[in-house]
Amino acid sequence: MEETLLELLRVRLRLTGTKRSCESEVCGACTVLVDNRPFSSCNYLAFEAQGKSVLTIEGLANGEQLDPLQEAFVRNIGAQCGYCTPGQIMAAKGLLSENPVPTREEIAEWLSGNICRCGAYGAIAKSILEAAQEYQQRKS
């Protein structure tokens, strides 16, 4: 009952792609999607996810085939140290499921709570814009 979603993922399930960092819902490193909406798993009780879909960075690729977001991050070097990257990508996934063709401003607004201390923001935004295009092309 007192277990957080982050503890469940990292400690019990050994899914360590989701990162622990600020522990106070500020940095975004622990972002996961619950029913397609981003949450800070550090400050979210695991029982709340009962009966809901939880998507972490581990669930994004289809076998060996990376998600367009992951491909775009790789292509654009949308990371430096990479610690914030799973959270950035999951936040972006949540954005694109709600707003498939976001503007750069909408991306900046949505990801304002995902902090990259290396300052890869330009490449992150570019990656999300490109992934949005890729999703659109696959749909048509």
Binding site: E2, E25, G28, F47, E48, S112, G113
Partner: protein
Amino acid sequence: MLNELKLVQPTTLYEASKALTDYGESAKIYAGGAELLLLMRQGLMQTEVLVDVKKIERLQRVTWNGNGVRAGAGVTHRELATAPLIREQAPALAFAESQVANVRVRNQGTLGGNLCFNDPHSDPGTVLLIHDATVTLGSHRGERQLALGEFYIDMYATALEPDELLVEVKLSPLPAGMKSAYVRLHRYQRPTLGVAAATMVKNDTIEEARLAVGCVGPKAQRLPELEEKISGTKLNDARRIVVDAKNYFRDLLRPVDDLLGSASYKLYMTGVLLGDALEQTIRAGNGKQAS
């Protein structure tokens, strides 16, 4: 790591209030957990029982009752920011809600949690004040209404009794022709300063004004004397009056120096942002982020 917790999930207000009575101080009301879990995880608050109010249906609705909006205490910031009824009837509130922390907090945190926690560095309450909001508090003993300004007592302190829950917030639409705005400054994803304004303007003259300021003092407050002073003035004069009101702000708001800025900086910016908010109500309305 959290200590061992027991979860209670009442489906009615009565059951929830009874649980609070039965468990006493070892129980806490739990809705989104955005604020509560932070405190518990940092060891600043001990609790053994969470009374989860998310299954009480009445707390989860945003409705129109013919002359006002009722927003359930369990409605999240994200839901309020995007609810058509709020965007239509209280656009400055929808804007303020869209600026709370970050999208993860907005998905989790609730209006009721925000108001009951009464962290002075908060957005929604400031706008609710210019809508003359009242809160409905309920317990197994019955229900009562309080003006939001009376519900707020001091920082982190409200008029909520130990067996009571915040049920809903009622807000009146602004009178026809009155426009509103919310303007804020923020650092570290919490607002340093937030001001709300609403004006009714005729022939370039402010006929009626409502002003509120949050974050600078221990609680969000209306500024009745200043509202009176700028009534009957034109925008430029009103701007001068609010910028010159530093002593009034200091006495009313009792600001302190903290990580977000010195007291004198906050007082200065209160006047500046109130002026900006007034200008927005006259030019466009609905709130904007201060850069």
